[in-house]
């Protein structure tokens, strides 16, 4: 456990914490709006800790959907994490059992993306760095949920202060960071088309699983390229 690496992680996670904060507050406000108490909302943020699925969960709960279906939906929306933990396995193998437990609990989208990026640039993935990066997002997520739940009405219309544009632009930046990877363009094109089609014909949140699956199946089916045989080059930071 080294202090420097911990604080390097904190600094790295800080901008993401700022970008995620409005959504934590929004979740708190929407949860109370859907029949949660303030404590329920905070409890969900602290235990589930997966923004999009929390939104789906409260939406379904508010519509009195059967509990098993709510849990199944949360599982489906979060299914991408199976792929994340498989993908970063090579970087966290040296963690102790307890460290792995905590690390996987904190494995949100930006945590995954930064771990992958850092690993590919050849930097060490230490538990100190991982924890610093994770906690600077996790703790404010809970606090923002509390604030949002208490002052729900003060957010008013999220569109008026431009909140709705932040998440898609943020994810777009993450996608661009992977543009040096093998088969980047065909994968992104197929996933984009499939997710839009999924949104149109099936509806949210299934477009996530449908679009992701399309790109991943394509990558598995394409003949192995010459680049794939060579060692992976260092990815440029987005």
């Amino acid at each position: 456990m080294t202090k420097d690496e911990f604080w390097e992680g904190v600094r790295g996670g800080f901008p993401i914490m700022l970008a995620a904060s409005p959504f934590g507050a929004l979740f708190g406000a929407l949860a109370v709006d859907n029949g949660f108490t303030i404590a329920d909302a905070v409890f969900m943020s602290a235990t589930v800790y997966a923004g999009a699925s929390q939104m789906v969960g409260i939406e379904l709960f508010g519509n009195h959907v059967q509990p098993w279906l709510v849990v199944l939906s949360v599982f489906a929306v979060n299914f991408r994490h199976v792929l994340y933990s498989a993908s970063i396995a090579k970087y966290v193998r040296h963690f102790t059992f307890g460290q792995k437990f905590l690390a996987f609990f904190l494995l949100v989208d930006p945590q995954y993306a930064e771990t992958e990026k850092r690993g590919e640039r050849g930097l060490a993935i230490t538990f100190s760095w991982y924890l610093g990066f994770g906690l600077v997002i996790y703790i404010p997520w809970i606090i923002n949920t509390l604030v949002g739940a208490i002052f729900g009405q003060m957010i008013g219309d999220p569109k008026a202060i431009g909140l709705d544009v932040l998440l898609p632009v943020y994810f777009m930046g993450l996608v661009m960071g992977f543009r040096k990877r093998d088969r980047f363009l065909p994968i992104v094109t197929v996933s984009a088309l499939a997710s839009v089609a999924g949104m149109h014909f099936v509806g949210s949140p299934w477009h996530v699983s449908i679009g992701a699956l399309a790109g991943i199946v394509l990558a598995a089916c394409l003949p192995p390229s010459e680049r794939a045989a060579a060692p992976t080059g260092v990815e440029k930071e987005a």
Binding site: P15, T37, D40, F43, M44, V48, G57, F61, P67, V70, V71, L72, V74, F75, F79, R80, H81, Y84, S85, A86, A89, V92, A113, E116, A160, G162, V165, L166, L167, P168, V169, Y170, F171, M172, G173, L174, V175, M176, G177, F178, R181, D182, I187, V188, V190, S191, A192, S195, V196, M199, S204, V208, G211, A212, G215, I216, A219, A220, A228, A238
Partner: protein, 104 residues
Amino acid sequence: MDPQHLNLIYLIIAAAVATFLTRVGGYILITQMKQIPPRLEAALNAVPAAVLTTLVAPAFVYGGLDVTIAMFVAFAIALGFNLSTLRMLVIGWVVVMLIRHVVL
């Protein structure tokens, strides 16, 4: 605590366990395998771009004209000048606020 509220607590705990299973499941699966088949590796390699694209494309298409323009401008400037994600966020936010509060 009334039974209905208790059910909500159980529901949240079940959702938390389901989420944790997705976060640990991939690691358990992959470490049980002796060697990763090349096609599986190609598939895993495609995961981040494939998943994150599904969070971008529908917003670009269905988010409204102002969001579409903001995303396009942020994308073009960030790509052209090789900007960080945070700067790209600021550009997207400024463009959408300009459209909503100055242009309209």
